[in-house]
Symmetry: C2
Subunit: 238 residues, 2 copies
């Protein structure tokens, strides 16, 4: 704990780290199936939708297209996936409802209680590629006690661009070395650590479905590797 005594803020990746996007889409998919009369493999649907996420952000990062918030990218990707799955019966309001599932993602079982403990000692901010409306809707849905919604939209840059991390530390009024990035993804922690953030890798073995776990890179030098937010809180003195 003494090694972390200068930490003032924890910044969180959200999709996969705090909430279970794939499980939520599969669960809501069953409802959409009944409501809209669709017979779809919702796990395959979730994976296809998520598969278009990184390429869509890459076009913004490269400058090929101007800043575009994730709600818009999600919708474009959803339209493509609906076509791919030959789903043609949904009206505009239905498609919008489906697209907004990212505002209604369910937390991992340990997330809410763990965040409440962590909040007693640290500032907690999102540092997600999701835009503010997604983060606010999700926090209200799931009861996530953020102190601030930061990240891509507020920074005007998608992770892993440096500005996404550096602007979060600056806005929280702390040095990068006083921040710890919490994520289930190597790329995110490695990028944040390049700019001075401390790092906590959270194992989320089911994020991408059974047997597809992302595991922490052995030589990345993460400060903490943990399986849940309760243990993270204990190791950070909460």
């Amino acid at each position: 704990m003494a090694e972390f005594s200068n930490i003032k803020a924890l910044t969180f990746d959200v999709f996969g780290t705090v909430v279970d996007w794939r499980g939520t889409i599969i669960r809501e998919g069953a409802e959409w199936g009944r409501a809209y009369g669709l017979d779809v493999d919702w796990a395959a649907f979730a994976d296809a939708w998520r598969g278009r996420y990184d390429p869509a952000m890459a076009r913004v990062r490269s400058g090929e297209r101007p800043w575009t918030k994730l709600d818009v990218l999600h919708r474009e990707n959803l339209d493509a996936v609906l076509e791919e799955f030959a789903i043609t019966s949904l009206g505009e309001a239905d498609i919008d409802h489906v697209n907004r599932v990212w505002h209604r993602l369910d937390p991992w079982p340990d997330a809410v209680a763990g965040l409440a403990r962590l909040k007693t000692r640290y500032m907690l901010a999102t540092l997600s590629n999701g835009n503010v409306a997604i983060m606010v809707g999700m926090a209200r849905h799931a009861g996530l006690p953020w102190d601030a919604i930061l990240g891509a939209e507020v920074a005007g840059a998608y992770k892993p661009e440096p500005k996404a991390y550096l602007s979060a530390a600056d806005m929280l009024g702390v040095e990068a070395s006083e921040c710890m990035m919490v994520a289930a993804h190597n790329y995110d922690l490695i990028a944040s650590s390049k700019h001075g953030f401390r790092t906590a890798f959270v194992n989320r073995p089911l994020e991408f479905g059974p047997g597809k776990a992302e595991t922490p890179m052995a030589d990345a030098g993460f400060d903490i590797i943990t399986d849940d937010f309760g243990d993270l809180a204990a190791r950070l003195g909460c």
Copy 2:
């Protein structure tokens, strides 16, 4: 209430509307006086400090100086006021502590309970000229349940610039007409309403001290005029 049924988000001015900056500075000033051996009229000190706030922001709005966050403007203004009051005995850490009083402002007595009621039905966001670190520190100090910290720093523009209001609505994912600005100041409500926001004027008769109340402009057409957040919640169906 039916007339407000399309409202989805409430955006709040904070200094004076939610928290009592003058009262807090006077109360903390008594502590500083004892700790630092100062004999100062803290009400005059608070008013002198606050008096430099608008001119400092005006230089940023006009483009005379680049974007500068309020913590920095507050500090520059504090240095000037310390000189004005011939206070020369404070060290750097003491001055920084005094400057951060804006992170520790106390809420008006009705604010916390009123916000909790309003949150059950509406998204609540700060739309303050205070920077993110001020808003986060204050929310943690006072227990203010914001869904998002928006406003000047996130927008890169001080109120009443249009961008301060329009970016808040955009980030919340709603139309300006679905937002209600809540403030104790005419200029702020009038500016927001020009961009389509609905408006609620909250009387805070003691903000600037006894006998200096800002009263709502009779012909401004505010949607609600109220004395406290509890009444505001009732009138907004919470």
